[in-house]
């Protein structure tokens, strides 16, 4: 390979890694938030991603209320609005199902409710997959935008070497970063964030301080679902999807959360970003069919060498 091609390959892998990694990062934050605050491992998070995709689809296409925004702006506004819609779904799921096997109700039990959580979230996952199949059918969908097949071309100043910045992914990346920063601001500087962190650190003490822990857990679960749904809406602008799409991404979510540091919410973002980088850079030297295998090799190395994750401290939470 000549130097020009090498420079171009590395530069395109770098930019693709950043853009895709940021979207993965947002996807991972949702799962990380739920685990960080509630210590619930949500096996239905992939299906929450799927719900975000469909919410965005129905807002934007056909007779959707955002159809008037057109194919350039509508898909991204739709992705952002998928967040509040799926937040409500998440809050309802928590109220009627998750709260029965988590929070103060199970505090102090032998398994802290983990077995119940496993069964309930797996059950929700299966119901959403098969319910999605009944409601949406098995035909693949996408939120069509001309931006998904066009790029901003940036010359690298070395021969014809060029970086192609996919416009849809670039906007999706900007929305992902803005959402992650907004969450960081909420968690660090607002009363809600402090209450959520208090409920995560010591639910019993938080109750004594007048914090309604169950309500804040509901909010955390809803926020975790809503944030992953926004990521889903953004991914829907360049991917095709169906009711079973969540399965392909739930493994990436878990890898990102563990890489970033289990319990660390912002670490989950960096974990997702790392997964994006590994996926793109491994393709420079390995066949593409080993891209996902490479993620697991890095995952296992992190578990072996730094069990608390890349960006987490062993006792860090929220």
């Amino acid at each position: 390979m000549d130097i020009e091609s090498l420079i171009e390959n590395v530069a395109n892998a770098l930019t693709a890694g950043i853009t895709i990694g940021c979207i993965y990062g947002l996807m991972c934050i949702g799962l990380g938030l739920i685990f960080g605050i509630m210590k619930v491992v949500n096996f239905a998070q992939g299906e929450i991603l799927m719900l975000g995709m469909f919410a965005s689809l129905y807002l934007v296409t056909g007779g959707g209320i955002l159809a008037f925004l057109g194919p350039y702006i509508g898909p991204f506004v739709g992705a952002i609005l998928a967040g509040p819609i799926v937040f409500i779904v998440g809050a309802l799921l928590h109220k009627f199902l998750i709260s029965r096997v988590s929070g103060l109700k199970t505090a102090g039990s032998i398994d802290d409710g983990h077995f119940g959580q496993l069964i309930v979230t797996l059950g929700i996952s299966l119901i959403l997959q098969n319910g999605g199949m009944i409601v949406f059918g098995s035909t693949p969908f996408t939120v069509r935008t001309p931006l998904s097949s066009s790029a901003i071309e940036v010359g690298l100043g070395y021969g014809d070497a060029t970086v192609f910045l996919n416009k849809a992914k670039l906007i999706a990346c900007a929305v992902a970063i803005a959402t992650a920063l907004a969450l960081y601001f909420v968690m660090e500087f607002t009363r809600i964030g402090k209450a959520l962190r208090a409920a995560a650190d010591n639910p019993t003490a938080a109750t004594y301080m007048g914090i309604n822990v169950d309500n804040y857990y509901r909010m955390a679960f809803g926020m975790g679902c809503g944030i992953t749904a926004i990521a889903g809406g953004l991914m829907a602008t360049y991917l095709s999807f169906g009711p079973f799409v969540g399965f392909d991404y739930v493994i990436i979510m878990y890898s990102g959360v563990v890489l970033g540091g289990i319990g660390s919410i912002m670490g989950a973002f960096w974990g997702g970003l790392t997964v994006g980088f590994v996926q793109q850079f491994s393709a420079l030297v390995l066949p593409p069919q080993l891209q996902n295998a490479m993620i697991f090799i890095v995952f296992l190395l992190i578990v072996l060498l730094r069990p608390q994750g890349l960006f987490g401290r062993s006792a860090e939470r929220a």
């Binding site: 171009e8 395109n12 895709i20 199949m133 098995s138 097949s149 192609f164 991917l239 069919q289």
Partner: protein
């Protein structure tokens, strides 16, 4: 209280005997199975097969059913092969257990699924027809599997010379560099082997990019970047689902390598699924050449018109015509066998030699199977997207328009 007299008892017995006789005169239904992916990434192809199969059943039943069985109606029993070979195999086991009186069946679209389910159907000695491409499907010595497509290795040997001729005619020079991009499913792997073993060498081609991925794709940047660096004269695309096709053609367009500039040769019926032009802008597929195992020709024009009216799909294509053909071939075999017994149906399929009826649904106009279960003389078809519609360009028997080759190559 009503008393049962000897006269009423005799009258009742006579009525019962009469109704039994009537049931015996009414021919029983003949069940055939369809197992295709109706969920997961390959579901769209399965749905297209389902439409073709249901139409064939309705047409056969409306025409009087199976004549040699007194007009017995065909009943299609449908099964979902799902999204993995394991699920397909489980569905096949359920099928043979639940439906012991099947006369035959067809499916399961993706070669990896077909390889799995035919292990089950062969043990059950159930005649099984398939459009799947992998040569391994009929390379295992099975007696009850019938493959109507040209096998993947035959397709590989056939498609490259066709493309070379087309390129030479359009540009005046023979291509020298080729790229392969595709997934690692069984049919794709069968396709790559002869290409790399001898076809490229025989055609004087150098393989400059060889990118094999695990489906479904989440991003195609690294793949298309390598094509940009490798600068092949044409690309053979062996993805196996519409989602990956969309991702690839959009990435090609993004990198300025759409089929209008870089010749893209897709393989398989999913490239002509109407869904592709709904998932991506039609200009992204414009000029894409697709090699596939069957496409409706002039003799199937009327059938195609009825299919479009019935289903509201934009065209009658590969997956639907194969399902229609398989139901028709099975019906013909049952008629020949004068029985719905699976062993007699299998024997009829082995001895069948049709040049009319279902044979009109293939470009070579012939339905007979060799000792391996492969359709004799199965011919490759080539279509090309013209103004967002796949148009047949090869062979002569089905071609309605000439192929074009990108001018910049």
């Amino acid at each position: 209280m009503t008393q049962i007299t000897r006269r009423t008892a005799l009258a009742g017995a006579a009525a019962l005997a009469g109704s039994r006789a009537a049931r015996a005169a009414d021919p029983a239904e003949v069940k055939i199975a369809m197992m295709v992916p109706l969920s997961g990434p390959w579901a769209r192809s399965g749905l297209l097969e389902q439409m073709g199969a249901r139409m064939a059943v309705d047409d056969i039943n409306a025409a009087g059913g199976i004549k040699s069985l007194g007009g017995a109606k065909i009943k299609l029993v449908e099964f979902d092969a799902g999204d993995s070979a394991e699920k397909a195999k489980d569905a096949a086991q359920r099928m043979v257990a639940q439906e012991p009186d099947l006369a035959g069946g067809f499916g399961a679209w993706l070669s990896s699924f077909t390889l799995a389910i035919t292990e089950v159907t062969e043990r059950a000695e159930l005649p099984w027809m398939t459009l799947s491409y992998s040569d391994a499907i009929t390379g295992r010595g099975f007696k009850y599997v019938f493959q109507s497509s040209p096998t993947a290795d035959a397709q590989a040997a056939e498609v490259v010379p066709i493309i070379m001729k087309l390129a030479e005619k359009a540009t005046g020079k023979k291509p020298t560099k080729v790229a392969i991009v595709g997934d690692n499913s069984a049919s794709s792997m069968s396709f790559y082997k002869p290409l790399k073993d001898h076809v490229f060498k025989e055609q004087g081609l150098t393989l400059v990019v060889d990118e094999v991925f695990a489906p479904p794709l989440s991003d195609a940047t690294s793949i298309v970047q390598k094509l940009r660096s490798g600068k092949p004269d044409f690309v053979l695309l062996q993805s196996t689902n519409v989602g990956d096709d969309k991702l690839l053609v959009e990435k090609f367009a993004e990198f300025g390598l759409s089929a209008k500039k870089m010749p893209l040769i897709g393989g398989g019926g999913h490239w002509c699924a109407p869904e592709l032009t709904k998932l991506t802008a039609p200009e992204n597929v414009e000029g894409v050449i697709v090699a596939l195992a069957d496409w409706p020709g002039k003799k199937a024009a009327e059938l195609g018109k009825r299919f479009v009216e019935r289903t509201k799909e934009p065209w009658f294509g590969h997956d639907s015509i194969f399902a229609y053909a398989h139901v028709s071939i099975l019906a013909a075999a049952i008629d020949m066998a004068k029985s719905a017994d699976r062993h007699k149906v299998a024997a009829a399929l082995h001895s069948m030699d049709l040049t009319t009826g279902p044979a009109d649904l293939f470009p070579d106009g012939h339905v007979s199977y060799d000792e391996k279960g492969r359709r004799k003389g199965a011919q490759l078809c080539v279509v090309q997207y013209h103004n967002g519609v796949p148009m047949p360009v090869f062979p002569e028997s089905i071609a309605t328009t000439p192929a074009f080759w990108p001018k910049s190559s």
